[in-house]
């Protein structure tokens, strides 16, 4: 093969490989996009039924219920609210009345099954001091 033909062949195969790579990349990207919805949008059925998505809002005060490892709480955006279920430990920064983003799927019963809870970092929050362990009962 002459040098020129070889260069052309290399260029052609590089272009083909490149296009294939980009196509695969975009496919992988699209399949892994996690969209964000507000509770109002979720309530209006704008969020996908079977896919993973994120929802953000405030945790409604007094809505946290714990049954052993299973926790449930309500996320609201001031207009509508959605109940969220989560199994396991909640992050340190999770508190009622604070902002939160949950990632998971809508359950069949209209509640949201959260796989991950991402609580927002807030520097002004003051939790009750841990040294209050001597107090009887919840504060």
């Amino acid at each position: 093969m002459s040098p020129r033909r070889r260069r052309l062949a290399i260029l052609a195969s590089a272009l083909l490989a490149g296009t294939l790579a980009i196509a695969l990349l975009l496919y992988a990207l699209r399949g892994n996009l996690v969209f964000f919805y507000t509770p109002s949008q979720v309530w209006a059925h704008e969020a996908p039924a079977q896919r993973l998505f994120r929802m953000g809002g405030l945790v409604r005060e007094g809505s946290l219920r714990r049954d052993g490892l299973q926790a449930s709480f309500v996320v609201t955006d001031g207009v509508r609210e959605v109940r969220v279920r989560h199994h396991g430990l909640l992050p340190d920064l999770f508190r009622e009345g604070r902002g939160v983003v949950v990632q998971g799927r809508m359950g069949d019963d209209g509640a949201f099954d959260a796989h991950e809870v991402l609580a927002k970092h807030d520097e002004n929050y003051m939790p009750p001091p841990a040294a209050q362990a001597m107090r009887a009962g919840p504060p």
Partner: protein, 638 residues
């Protein structure tokens, strides 16, 4: 007084940087000699400025606003120093000081270089340094004073109070700033019109050293995430992590590419481009972390104004360099042609794969940005995309890692190559199948990881045996670094596919088992630390009825900031880690706990350490004394 000294050193550093940038443009050739002393002075002043800030932190001088915001009297001394670079301003000062130190080091070792090359390289570095110093003085003054110093500082962000976090920023910053050296060398080469083996030799040393720092810095960041974030993960494809990974990928491609230039004069224009892009990714990373364009747990305070200044800096510096490359590179010397099957080809493929990986990571990181410009709503890119892209690209790369070092330069003979490799291929395939069969259900990822690392290790062994362990420092370094890659690949794939996790609610003296390990909660009691109060759980690890270890996870409350953190307790082992985090108490007196058994996690960092070690060995082997004929020819051309 201290603020005055600090400001003065920064201003002086700026002055020297500007002077340094101007030297190459000076008419009389004898002024070129000024480049070296100017570089040394810039380094001195920048270091002094940083030392002033660090000193203020150690003394707890709350007259400095940064000290008041990020330190306190009750903070241990090591963390006070770390507080110096916890803020945007402090870390940018660290960036500038790192750049100045690298420049001074280059100036010192470039004694025998052709004066014009040295002057141009130092000039570019001076220009970049001047831009940073100017940005610091005008928009991010680290030495802002408070008229009424508060009695107590606000303490350092508790997440940063960890040993890994003391060393991670300096190392990472040295890596980022260090990539400016190959950049400057590339620009100087483009101006001068030649980038041959001598240029490659000089650049390779500095590129490899910067790459070592970057490797260690990233590894430490990963160690911190594992220890501190409480979830047992070590890499999250977070935008800030990606911002450090992209320059690393580019720098890896660069140091490999430079080998071809040094030995055969091939891949010259590619190496120049990689050198420019490496620093470009470095600046991009710096921009992404500080501009607020992407939201991340790690990002500094959002400030669009500062972001704009950094973007303009990046656009001008990198844009001008790329334009220069577009103009000058085509005319630069071509190498001897090489066949499709040769070491050069392997290196070309390697470059393509690494750069492709960097672009894949960039695409994933910026995709949310692009989609928001198109009003497709806030979006996150899930980790599986990155994992899949990396697996797809790293596997062929690992394959090449076995072939490349064994292939000849110019033209490799397929039969002899195949002969050298077949033993290794056999070993890796058989062994991975054997392991998969022995371990029962093990995921495809684990099998792939084992196969890849065994392939690399066995080809390495075969090569070492064939040469009886002899070889230049560069080759020895390569062997150690590639071994590091094999160890890392094994650790990463097994960690990802092999861990177990369980969340439990336990009473005192209750037992939980996971993966054959027994955990017994003995009690939860308050403890106090230097600047925090904590609830500490004591958990015994039992095996066959005997207590073999104890773990003490904590929930801490840092007094000054009133921030709660979870400190996981980790029992580190050679092949498995036991990882326990303490959660909330339940109303009935039980405590929530997360128990994890993580496998081969330590191998991930051992691999990174080996990689860095290999790099250091390779860098130490670069000839620094200039061969006589080359420098004379260089002078004649310049």
């Amino acid at each position: 007084m201290n603020a005055l000294l600090a400001h003065a050193s920064l201003v002086l550093a700026l002055a020297f940087a500007l002077a340094l940038a101007a030297v190459p443009m000076a008419a009389p050739a004898r002024w070129l000699k000024l480049a070296r002393p100017l570089a040394a002075l810039m380094g001195l002043c920048a270091t002094l400025a940083l030392a002033c800030l660090a000193g203020a932190f150690v003394r707890n001088d709350t007259g400095f606003q940064l000290v008041a915001l990020h330190s306190s009297a009750s903070l241990p001394v090591a963390y006070r120093v770390a507080g110096a670079w916890a803020s945007h301003e402090g870390s940018l000062l660290l960036w500038f000081a790192a750049l100045a130190l690298w420049t001074a080091a280059l100036a010192r070792s470039g004694r025998e270089w052709p004066p014009v090359l040295l002057a141009r390289t130092l000039g570019v570095l001076g220009g970049i340094g001047a831009a940073f110093a100017l940005f610091l003085l005008l928009a991010s003054d680290p030495f802002t004073q408070l008229a009424q110093p508060p009695a107590a500082g606000r303490d350092l962000n508790p997440l940063l109070q960890h040993p890994a976090m003391v060393a991670h920023p300096p190392l990472l910053t040295l890596g980022y700033a260090g990539l400016a050296l190959p950049f400057a060398l590339a620009v100087a080469a483009l101006i001068g019109g030649e980038a041959g083996p001598d240029w490659a030799r000089r650049t390779r040393r500095w590129a490899t050293l910067a790459w070592c720092c970057l490797t260690l810095g990233i590894a430490l960041g990963s160690v911190w995430a594992y220890d501190v974030l409480g979830w047992g993960g070590w890499w999250f494809w977070d935008p800030v992590e990606n911002a450090s990974f992209m320059p690393w990928l580019c720098a890896t491609a660069l140091i490999h590419s430079l080998a071809a230039v040094e030995r055969r004069g091939a891949l010259g224009t590619t190496s120049l481009l990689l050198a420019l892009l490496g620093f470009g990714f470095s600046l991009l990373g710096t921009f992404l972390v500080r501009s607020g364009v992407l939201s991340s747990v790690h990002a500094f305070a959002n400030d669009p104004q500062r972001g704009l200044a950094l973007l303009v800096l990046m656009a001008l510096v990198v844009g001008a360099a790329l334009a220069l490359h577009a103009l000058r590179a085509p005319a630069m010397t071509r190498s001897a042609p090489f066949s499709l099957l040769s070491r050069e080809s392997a290196l070309v493929a390697n470059n393509v794969l690494l750069l492709g990986a960097a672009i894949a990571v960039l695409a994933g990181t910026l995709c949310p940005l692009l989609l928001e410009r198109l009003d497709l709503g806030p979006v996150a890119v899930g980790a599986p995309y990155f994992d899949a892209a990396m697996a797809a690209l790293m596997t062929p790369m690992a394959f090449l890692m076995g072939i490349g070092p064994l292939a000849r330069w110019g033209r490799a003979e397929l039969p002899s190559l195949a002969r050298r490799l077949r033993a290794a291929a056999l070993v890796s395939v058989l062994a991975s199948v054997a392991v998969a069969w022995a371990a029962g259900h093990v995921g495809w990822l684990a099998v792939l990881g084992i196969a890849v690392s065994l392939w690399i290790a066995s080809t390495l062994l075969s090569d070492t045996l064939r040469t009886r362990g002899r070889g230049a420092r560069a080759v020895q370094g390569m062997r150690i670094a590639h071994l590091g890659v094999a160890v890392f690949a094994l650790g990463a794939s097994l960690a990802k596919s092999g861990g177990e996790e369980r969340e439990v609610a336990m009473r005192v003296n209750e037992r939980a088992t996971l993966a054959g390990e027994s955990f017994v909660l003995r009690g939860v009691a308050p403890v106090a630390g230097a600047n925090y109060d904590a609830l500490q759980a004591v958990i015994d690890i039992e095996r066959d009825g005997r207590v073999v270890g104890q773990l003490q996870p904590q929930r801490r409350l840092y007094r000054l900031r009133q921030v709660a953190t979870t400190e996981a307790a980790i029992e580190r082992g050679l092949v498995r880690d036991l990882y326990v985090s303490l959660g909330d108490p339940l109303d009935d007196g039980r405590w929530l706990l997360r128990l994890q058994v993580k496998r081969f996690i330590g191998w991930i960092w051992a691999g990174c350490l080996l990689m860095a070690l290999g790099g250091a060995v390779a860098a130490s082997g670069v000839r620094t004394r200039e061969p006589q004929r080359a420098s004379q020819a260089g002078e004649a051309r310049a």
